[in-house]
Amino acid sequence: MNNVRIIPRLDIKGPNVVKPVHTEALRVVGNPAEMAEAYYKAGADEIIYLDIVASLYQRNLDFDLLKSVSEKIFVPLTVGGGIRSIHDISNALRAGADKVAINTYAVQHPEFLVEAVQTFGSQCIVLYVEAKRVALGRWEPYTDGGRERTGLDVVAWVKEALSKGVGEILLTSIDRDGTRLGFELDLVQAITSFSPVPVIAHGGAGSVDSVKEVIKNAKADAVAISSIFHYNEVSVKNLKVSLQRADISVRI
């Protein structure tokens, strides 16, 4: 039996964890290493660490900061932000990442995904998609921390990336990010309906019920959550207990 994973997500800017709303309007919420350790101890199944301005400013990840974050956690860490080369991925792994999430550079150079997968294995390469609704049932992937349009279609782009071998999809709804309005179920469903690899739904987690919905109705394999964890509206533990009561299999 595979458990649904509950994954706190840390958006990193400079030395801080921040919380964007619609991928912008950042607020500082805490220290990355302290928050990661607290989530690990609280029973998080993984941690996501995304430097949300690295691509925009064409910077590399802060590998020292990443190392300090990974130091005290013994669950998987997915790291993204400004990954542009095999060397960047190696450095991220050496700084404690287990998987890397790639958005901007993959859109610009889809073939890079092939090279990354052949070097590190599918399971190491996560496609990060920031999706913005453009019409009913249609979404456009954005890059550079949700700032740049691509002109692509999310479903077509995910299919292309899957053909390059990516092992997991991290799917953010820009429209719901930071709103607590619930997940964008039709977006998640649009991807889980065909994806042969796990899909991590992100953006909009509000009530416990909204998390149940995205798992039961939209078939998310994992759920990434920031606001409601960061602001202590629900704990990892309590969320998992509630999910278990709703017959959703989780690790407790």
Partner: protein, 215 residues
Amino acid sequence: MKISPTIGIVDYGVGNLHSAVKAFKQFSDKVIVTEDADDIRAADALVLPGVGAFPTGMQGLKIRGLVEPIRAFSKTGKPMLGICLGAQIMLSKGYEFGMHEGLNLVEGEVVDFSALATGTKIPQIGWNSLAEPAQEVWQNTILDSVASNRDSVYFVHSFIFQPRQPDEALATTEYGGREFCSVFKKNNIYGCQFHPEKSGAVGLKIIENFIHLVS
């Protein structure tokens, strides 16, 4: 409690080093990361970590001249632990991106998941439990005090190892309706398909048990 055997963690270019190192450092003060044959010979216990594809891993060992030193180490009876890819390359051959020879420390093959229930996702990414094949088989092994069918560990993989000798399967795991070998043991050579260094308190216990195998 910390003891001080020298734990050699082999750096062959694609490893998940920082994660493994920091986990082993919880239990030993002498954890060295090395791609040097002399260090491998001198180690009290050897770890092959792993993130990556089978051919890349073997190539990484070959270009560093580490295939023979690792094979020689495996014959000393000192504890060895392969993690994920590091465990897979301990088998005779693998079929990821074509057929490739492995270290052949354990007879068998590394194959993709097949015949899984419809809709099962590959890779398996997530927490899953370990089953003890018979009572008390885990005593005095790296799985000592792990709760069979209850404690979960973290898997990330598209391929599985299949040791030829059934009794070399120390633990099995079920995924998508298929049971597969998730830990092998041949004498003092262990391989875990999951990542103990990423499996929270249960994983750390497995690592501690491994270090205590050093006599």
